[in-house]
């Protein structure tokens, strides 16, 4: 497969995102918070926070408001609707206490949680761990991450690895809410703790995360999509953020996003954000109504891949009434709210002067061109991921997938699995079905997934892909965030 491309499209020497392989070891987490704080000689607030929390735990001054119902566990076994769901997700403590269920009230089937816990601990007794059970077309996938057990019961076509990855996201969402250190500490102190007390409101975020990870290629690819903008505008936006925050210490990340697409990401020198953490932020913004009703919001956010032991503090706000881009300024300082509020005002002023708000609005309002419109009649849809920047691009979804985009998502998920299957990974895949043809290509610099007309000749599929890479290369400035600006 010869192409005349020297450097793959969308590549950059430095990326603001940590670049990863998709099915990497999920356990790996770094601890960057202490480092930042120590380098600035600022007393740590994390310990103080933990102490406060512990005090609250030990003397419970607020009554728990979780009500338990005494209905029969078996009720759900007769519930057709509950049974027909294509994917259930459960979270329980290692002692078997229910924490979360995607559908239904978890208190109503406490006995199921008991069975799940028994399965995990039975296998664990032999110093082994249960990963999955396959029964017909149903997969039971287990993830045991101290102190929680996560279980997916799925009838979807997703493979075990992809389901495990989704369970990992759920775990990270919980860790992001409480920090991993606190989560572990809680269960060290009381094995039978009812974690739901601390997680009120989080189920909404987990629900959204699961829907999100089922439908967005970003999760499968461990990458993010950028809002198309000319590089001069994107640079001007980054510069506005950098200049406005220049006098504020310890701002770690400045993130601007809209419609689940990244506009820019400014980072502190030496620090990078992991795409998985960025996905949690996207999810937070997407699932939270409260950010939209107030002018700005101040929230503790733990990014588990960045540092699972402590909180960053996020100043979250939408730019302006009619420019629905969301700005997140993350700092390690718990008392920086007012200075970041002022910085946000300055950023908006600068962006307005530079006509950047208009540019963002225009890009948000304009529809991405479909493959047909840009001169690839045999190409129905594609996803291009640049590995060095952990970013991807996909065009507008057009016929025949505009009605059933789930089908397209499944094609991509399966092709992705075949390229990354741990036992037998492929470099190049061309597969034809009566409905469509898929060409998937994994190189050192990029991954490309192209869905083509089913009757296409192999040779013309290859030439189409070659032309497509050239086409992307010409537009890489606009489609990707190529430099990694720092504060």
């Amino acid at each position: 497969m010869a192409t005349n491309i020297e450097i793959e499209p969308g590549a950059a020497l430095e990326s603001a995102l940590v670049t990863t392989e998709s099915y990497e070891n999920f356990q790996e987490m770094s601890s960057s918070l202490e480092e930042i704080k120590n380098s600035n000689f600022i007393p740590s607030t994390t310990d103080e926070y933990l102490d406060n929390c512990n005090n609250l735990d030990n003397d419970i001054h607020l009554n728990c408001s979780i009500t338990s119902t005494n209905s029969k566990d078996e009720e759900y076994l007769q519930d057709e609707e509950w049974l027909s769901k294509s994917k259930h997700v459960f979270v329980l403590s290692s002692a078997g206490k229910p924490i979360y269920s995607r559908y239904g009230n978890e208190d109503r089937f406490a006995s199921y949680f008991g069975i799940m816990q028994a399965l995990v601990s039975f296998v664990q007794a032999d110093d082994d761990s249960i990963r999955s059970i396959h029964a017909g077309d149903t997969k039971f996938v287990f993830l045991f991450k101290e102190p929680l057990i996560l279980v997916a019961v799925s009838k979807t076509e997703e493979c075990t690895l992809q389901l495990t990855a989704q369970l990992n996201y759920v775990f990270n969402q919980i860790a992001s809410t409480l920090t991993l250190s606190r989560l572990v500490k809680i269960y060290e102190q009381r094995r039978n703790y009812d974690l739901r007390r601390l997680l009120t409101g989080v189920d909404r975020f987990i629900d959204n995360l699961l829907d999100f990870s089922e439908n967005e290629p970003a999760f499968t690819l461990s990458a993010v999509q950028c809002l198309p903008l000319t590089s001069s505008i994107r640079d001007a936006i980054s510069a506005a953020i950098i200049q406005s925050c220049s006098k504020i210490k310890n701002v770690v990340f400045g993130i601007l996003l809209a419609k689940n697409q990244l506009i820019t990401l400014v980072r502190m020198k030496k620090y990078y954000i992991h795409p998985h953490d960025l996905h949690l932020i996207f999810n937070l913004v997407q699932a939270s109504e409260s950010f939209k009703t107030v002018e700005s919001c101040w929230a503790p956010i733990c990014l588990p891949r960045f540092d699972s032991s402590g909180f960053l503090y996020g100043h979250v706000s939408y730019l302006a009434e009619d420019c629905q881009a969301c700005l997140i300024l993350l700092t390690v300082e718990g008392d920086a709210f007012s200075s970041l509020s002022e910085a946000k005002q300055r950023i908006v002023e600068r962006l307005r002067r530079g006509s950047c708000l208009e540019a963002i609005n225009e890009s948000l309002a304009s529809r991405e061109e479909s493959c047909m419109e840009v001169g690839f009649p045999e190409l129905r849809h594609y996803i291009y991921k640049s590995k060095s920047t952990a970013q991807f691009y996909q065009p507008h979804i057009s016929a025949p997938y505009s009605i059933n985009s789930r089908r397209l998502v499944n094609i991509y998920k399966q092709a992705h699995y075949k390229l990354h299957c741990p036992t037998r990974p492929l470099k190049l895949l061309f597969e034809r079905t009566p409905q469509d043809a898929i060409l998937a290509w994994d190189t050192r610099g990029f991954e490309l997934y192209a869905v083509l007309e089913p009757l296409i000749e192999t040779s013309s599929a290859i030439s189409t892909v070659g032309r497509l890479l050239n086409w992307i290369k010409k537009r890489e400035d606009k489609l990707f965030h190529l430099n990694a600006p720092t504060f």
């Binding site: 406060n52 609250l56 408001s65 009120t200 409260s290 107030v294 503790p300 730019l319 307005r352 708000l357």
Partner: protein, 260 residues
């Protein structure tokens, strides 16, 4: 896990209107300094907003900001109360827990002068307590909410008052609010229970409904009035009391379901 209210009572709608229009006026928080907040090239704010900007710019310069915090258990309706006050809207059946603290600025008019309220809407969940505690200290006023249909949220009020005593300034203005007063049949906390608790702790009290709008403006305006008076210095001499003010204002209009 929903705040959806099952009943709609027309009586309250008209009540709210009389309270709002006879006594109190709220001006829209205008975007003063910038001609276009949107980034759209040809956008101009409506004429009445522009007029406001012209007349009030000078006065605004020497304005102090009064900080007001909304507190109470998760799901009692803090955000709904604020959104109703800020925008006049109520979204039924759309419970979304607040993450951290939300900040809203609102300018209200009291006796022909403008008072700027900075309202902090806090998350009710326990896990955010340590973040919100840090802001108690700076608060001038606290609106402490419970849900009249949720006994736990009422029982927790004592614990909340304990926290307030621990973290907030001694002279902070406190107002106890029983929200969701429109939910007649689901009510489990009587108005007298709330009144008794308020008397015990010597704080102001009223029942509100973010859904119908009952007393929503009154709650914020009473606080604004108290803060303005304190600021103008006659804090000790003229003992304006929020309690008395609230009692006067609420007594003007009888409240049918509460008296049953």
């Amino acid at each position: 896990m929903t705040t959806e209210d099952s009943m709609d009572d027309d009586v309250f709608e008209s009540l709210e209107d009389t309270v709002a229009h006879s006594n109190l006026q709220v001006k829209q928080n205008a975007y003063r300094s910038t001609p276009s907040p949107t980034g759209y090239r040809d956008y101009k704010p409506p004429a009445e907003v522009l007029k406001l900007c012209e007349t009030d710019t000078i006065e605004e310069c020497n304005q102090t900001i009064h900080k007001t915090i909304l507190l109470g258990d998760s799901g009692v309706g803090k955000t709904s109360l604020l959104v109703k006050f800020d925008t006049g809207k109520f979204q039924p059946g759309n419970f979304s827990a607040t993450v951290g603290i939300g900040f809203t600025n609102k300018v209200v008019t009291i006796d022909n002068s403008r008072v700027k309220l900075q309202i902090w809407d806090t998350a009710g969940q326990e896990r955010f307590r340590s973040v919100t505690h840090a802001y108690y200290r700076d608060a001038h006023a606290l609106l402490l909410l419970y849900d009249v249909t949720n006994k736990t949220s009422f029982d927790n009020i004592r614990a909340w008052l304990g926290e307030i005593r621990e973290y907030a300034q001694d002279d902070v203005v406190i107002m106890l609010i029983g929200n969701k007063s429109d939910c007649g049949s689901d009510r489990v906390i009587r108005k007298e229970d709330g009144e008794r608790l308020a008397r015990e702790y010597n704080v102001a009290f009223m029942e509100t409904s973010a859904k119908s709008g009952l007393n929503v403006e009154l709650a914020f305006m009473a606080v604004a009035r108290e803060l303005k008076l304190r600021q103008s210095g006659n804090k000790d001499s003229n003992k304006f009391s929020v309690q008395d003010y609230v009692r006067e204002e609420t007594d003007k209009t009888p409240c049918p379901p509460c008296s049953t």
